[in-house]
Structures are given as structure tokens and as C-alpha cells.
Symmetry: C2
């Protein structure tokens, strides 16, 4: 039976030195485990899978095949960043799959949040499986499992990691971060030279913007979520809130209201801003964003984002709200 | 042809003395016009119709028959206040009609805002007509027309005043406030001894809470709008914002989201808070309500109002938002 308990003697990785020691140790272990075989990784661009990728590139170079599936539900600029960092800067063996149309076609008419998650999850497995079958001689599957994933038991939300592959595609697992906490993963990512925007990225749900485009996912609302989210992130970064606020994003309900643009009636969507702080994700408080900044962001969103005439700020702590809306 | 132009020599009513002079003059004019006949008034409880009622009670006492139609879309405590002030304090001849069920039955399945307004307006005429037919010897119809109503031309929203009565119910009009601006009506209302809560009441749409219970009006959401609005008004009054903020209210979209109450999933509505300032109602700015107060109001609403798990603050100025959502 696999050992899934963090060794009690393991020191918490808080410095570059400790991170480098961990990296050296893992590079050796990975080389020993993998030999001259190939490893497959689903690279989402989130901090965990990005750090696993960087570690494996250091250990086995082009024996790692990273597959980045763009399901069309990523934030603005994210797929481009994955390609830039891994293909261009780290010279990785990266398979980039733009599956936007496949996902959005499958999601047509799907309204219920759990169904949306299931459709996205199942389609992700299918796309990944197709890519895996195109590759020869893969014996290992790397995953960005971290220690909290192992500690969390019971009925939690379906994991982002690649479970559910068919029987004939079972690989030996490679999970170099499985004893690390999130903060340690970040220190290791820094030591590996990954860009700060990737290492300190906010938590982002597996189904991506799909759970922030409430109800049925349509291309126009999805685009409006993506654009308004980019404006929010840009303004938070410009005004010293990036890194200070734990998580912030926009979402759009499937609901319109009357407004006015250029002196004529505009029947359009509201954008909802969520910005929260939490220690344990079990409870969360709402960030007191300066009113002038909220007004500036509102002005930008209703001006720059097509189809949006209002902006709302979610004042609800957790409980009674959840952090995400779906 | 009726004279509808404010006399150029008319002084702006800004003091109790000027208000009293206006009241004396109008009392004489009303007695002369009405003689010993009866006058009918649709008393909504808004400042205009309340001041007309108080003036007419002073002039002709029980010859005024005021009809207060409770269409079920009034704010918390409003019908009770009308009965208390006019029947109990001013000893008026008041017909109170609770037509809540009639209105809500008619509104079942009506989703489109303009249709909602039409149904409410038409049903109001019908109820008022029925009451008028029960009364004998009415020759006059009093209305709370004020000068801006006369100045406003072109296709504005259907008026609150009682137009649309059938041919055989045409009365001679009595419009004692038709040359007054809103601020003058308030000074006169004060001088007549009406309670401040009635005289300085915020503007309130004719279709009442009906246009703040977005989409189809249901009893549960209507109740949640009424209760959350009462909490907002109470907290604004307690914290010095009553009288400072031009208009503030809550509304509820026909849309739910996931939240948590007592550790279990709660799929409930959000309440949206709107608080705006305006000089001319053509443009409006959003009030910078202190964050701590917004958090306190949020806590009260999600705790005290059944079916609500989130509170949002509308950050949208006019344009691009309108003040109301429908």
C-alpha cells in the first residue's frame, strides 16, 4: 500500500535553500523512477501542475509530454502564458489542444451546476485520452496532487487531477508534490524560476470560468465574464490589491435588467464582483475595496465589456454565501 | 381651456408662513369650488396625495372620501400608516381596500415589466371604479398633480393619477397642488402637520414593490423584498443616511445561487441594494455607504429574511444603469 503520510521528520519548506534541497532530492528520485521512459502530464497552468511540469523538465527534459487542454473556460491570457512559459522559455515538449468548440458545443443547454461540472470533467478526460493515445511509449502519468488533496477525505468536489481514464490507459503515477502544502509548492515554484504570475496565481476552479458564467454557458456571456475578470485583475494589480486579497473574480448571472447606453434603453447583464479573504476556505470575509476603485472598475466594465450595463459587489461572507456562486 | 401655467408672480413656498398663506388661500378656493358636494381621492400615501388629502380635510372635512387601495405592493407599514394618520388622527372619511389577493392573482405569470405595469394600472382603475360606484353624489375627483407632472410632456411613464375611468364616471377635477414643485409640497405638508415620515418619504414607483420583485411577482419574493427594504430603511435611519441619500431600496431578481445556512446547502435569492443620489433623476450617482454598515445590513438580511442567502450592492451610476431595474 502506498505511503500517503507526510514524514514527520520533513521540514517545512520556507526558504530558497530548503526548496533547492527538495528540488535536488526530487530530481534524483524522478530520474530513478522514470529512467528513460516517457511521462505524461495534464498541464492546466495552475500552480500545482506548473510546478510539477517544471520539476519534471529539470529531471527528465523532453521525456515529459505536457498536454494543455484549453477548454475555452480559462481566464484571459492563460493559455498564451502556458505556451510562452513552457514551450518558449522552458523548451518543453508541450501539446497544446484548443478544444474550445468541443466543450462549448457539449455545454449547450446544460444549466444545472453539477451537470456542467460533469460535462466539463468528462469531456476533459476524453480530450486527454485522445491525446494520450496519439503518443507512444508513455509509462508514467504525473499529477499535481498536493498534501491537502490527500488529507481531504469524504465527499468533496470532484478532483482536478486526471482520474477516470479507461483501463487500458493506466499509468504508473508520479506525484512529486504529494507531501507539500500550498505555500511550500509556491516556494518551490519560485526556486524553479517560474513567473510570479503563475506561482502566486489565485485559486481557480477546475471547470474554470464555466462556474462563473451562471446557468447555461453561452459564448457571449462567457466572453463578458472573461473580459470583466481581466479588468478586475488589472485594476487590483495596479492598486496594490493583488497578493493582498485572497481571491477575486467576476461572474455573470443569466439575468438582464434595464439600463441606458447612449440615451437608448439597454437591456443587458450585470457583472458581479466577488473579492474575499479566507484562512481555511471554510469561512471567508469580504474585502473592503475602496469605493472609488469600485466606481472606476464599474465605469471600465460597463464601457469596455459588451452586453453589460451594471456592476454589483457581492457583500456576502461565507457563510451564508459560498465563495463561488455555483 | 384650463390654465396650466404657474403664475409668474407666485412666490416660491419656502417657509411656514408662506405655506400657511397658501393653505388659507387654497382652503377658501376649495370651499368655493366644492360647496356642499362630495370629493373623491385616491390616497396612495405618497406625499402628493397625502398633502391633497390633508388640505381637503381642512377645507371640506368629511365631504372628502379618500380611497386607499392596498395592492399588496406597498412597503412594510405603509397601509397601516395611512389608516393611522388619516382615519385615526385626522378623522377622515377613509375607505381602505385590501386588494392584495386580486392584484397578485392578476399578476400570476406576468413577467415582462411593461405588462406588469399595465396589469397593475388597469387593476387599480378597476378597484377604484368599483369603490366610486358604491358612493353616491360624488361630483369632484381630487388629484395630487404637481407642477412637474404638467411640465413633463412627451412619452413618460403612465401617471399615478387616476386616468382611465369610464365615461359615466367623469368628475370635475380638483388639483390644489398643480402649480407646486415637490419641495413646496413638502413645506405645505409640514405646515399641515403631516408626519415627517410621510412628508419626506422617498419617491416610490406607482407599481410599488412590483417593479422591485423582478420578473414574475411571487408572494415569497415579494415578502422578501418588503422585509429586506424595511431593514435597509431602518438601518439608514439609524445611521444618519435617511434624508441624506435621495433614494434607497432593495430588489430581488428571479435568480438563485448556492450558499450555506446552518452547515447545509442553501439555494436561495440574492437581495440587491440600490442607494443613489440625483438632482434631476436624469443622472444619478451611487452613495458611498460605509462598508461596515453594508456588512451589518447584509448580516441582518441573510439572517432575518427568509429565502435570501446573499446581498449585493449595485455600483452602477445612471447612466448606464437606471435607478429602478425594471
Amino acid at each position: 500500500m502506498e505511503n500517503n503520510k507526510r514524514p514527520e521528520t520533513m521540514e517545512r519548506i520556507t526558504t530558497v535553500e530548503l526548496a533547492n534541497a527538495f528540488i535536488d532530492e526530487q530530481v534524483n528520485a524522478l530520474r530513478e523512477q522514470i529512467g528513460d521512459k516517457k511521462v505524461l502530464l495534464a498541464l492546466s497552468g495552475g500552480v500545482d501542475s506548473s510546478v510539477v511540469a517544471a520539476l519534471l523538465i529539470k529531471a527528465v527534459g523532453k521525456q515529459l509530454v505536457s498536454v494543455h487542454v484549453n477548454h475555452g473556460l480559462l481566464r484571459k491570457g492563460e493559455p498564451e502564458q502556458v505556451v510562452e512559459v513552457f514551450r518558449n522559455q522552458l523548451n518543453a515538449n508541450l501539446v497544446y489542444v484548443d478544444a474550445t468548440d468541443r466543450f462549448l458545443d457539449k455545454l449547450k443547454g446544460v444549466v444545472e451546476p453539477e451537470n456542467k461540472r460533469k460535462v466539463i470533467g468528462a469531456e476533459f478526460i476524453r480530450v486527454f485520452e485522445e491525446e494520450a493515445r496519439k503518443l507512444d511509449g508513455i509509462e508514467f502519468l504525473a499529477q499535481g496532487t498536493i498534501y491537502p488533496d490527500i488529507l481531504e477525505s469524504g465527499p468533496v468536489k470532484a478532483h482536478h487531477n486526471v482520474g477516470g481514464l479507461p483501463e487500458d490507459l493506466q499509468f504508473e503515477l508520479v506525484e512529486p508534490l504529494k507531501f507539500l502544502y500550498k505555500d511550500e509548492v509556491r516556494v518551490v515554484g519560485d526556486a524553479l524560476g517560474l513567473p510570479a504570475g503563475m506561482v502566486y496565481r489565485q485559486p481557480f476552479p477546475g471547470p474554470g470560468l464555466g462556474v462563473r458564467c451562471l446557468g447555461e454557458i453561452t459564448r457571449d456571456r462567457l466572453e463578458a465574464v472573461r473580459e470583466s475578470d481581466a479588468i478586475l485583475r488589472e485594476e487590483f494589480a495596479k492598486n496594490g490589491l493583488e497578493g493582498k486579497v485572497w481571491q477575486y473574480f467576476t461572474l455573470i448571472p443569466d439575468f438582464k435588467s434595464t439600463g441606458i447606453k447612449n440615451d437608448v434603453r439597454a437591456y443587458e447583464w450585470p457583472v458581479i464582483i466577488r473579492a474575499v479573504n479566507t484562512k481555511d476556505a471554510m469561512t471567508a470575509t469580504v474585502e473592503n475595496v475602496p469605493f472609488e476603485l469600485l466606481q472606476h472598475i464599474t465605469q471600465r466594465i460597463v464601457t469596455e465589456v459588451s452586453g453589460v450595463n451594471r456592476v454589483l459587489y457581492d457583500l456576502t461572507p461565507k457563510p451564508t454565501g459560498t465563495i463561488e456562486w455555483e
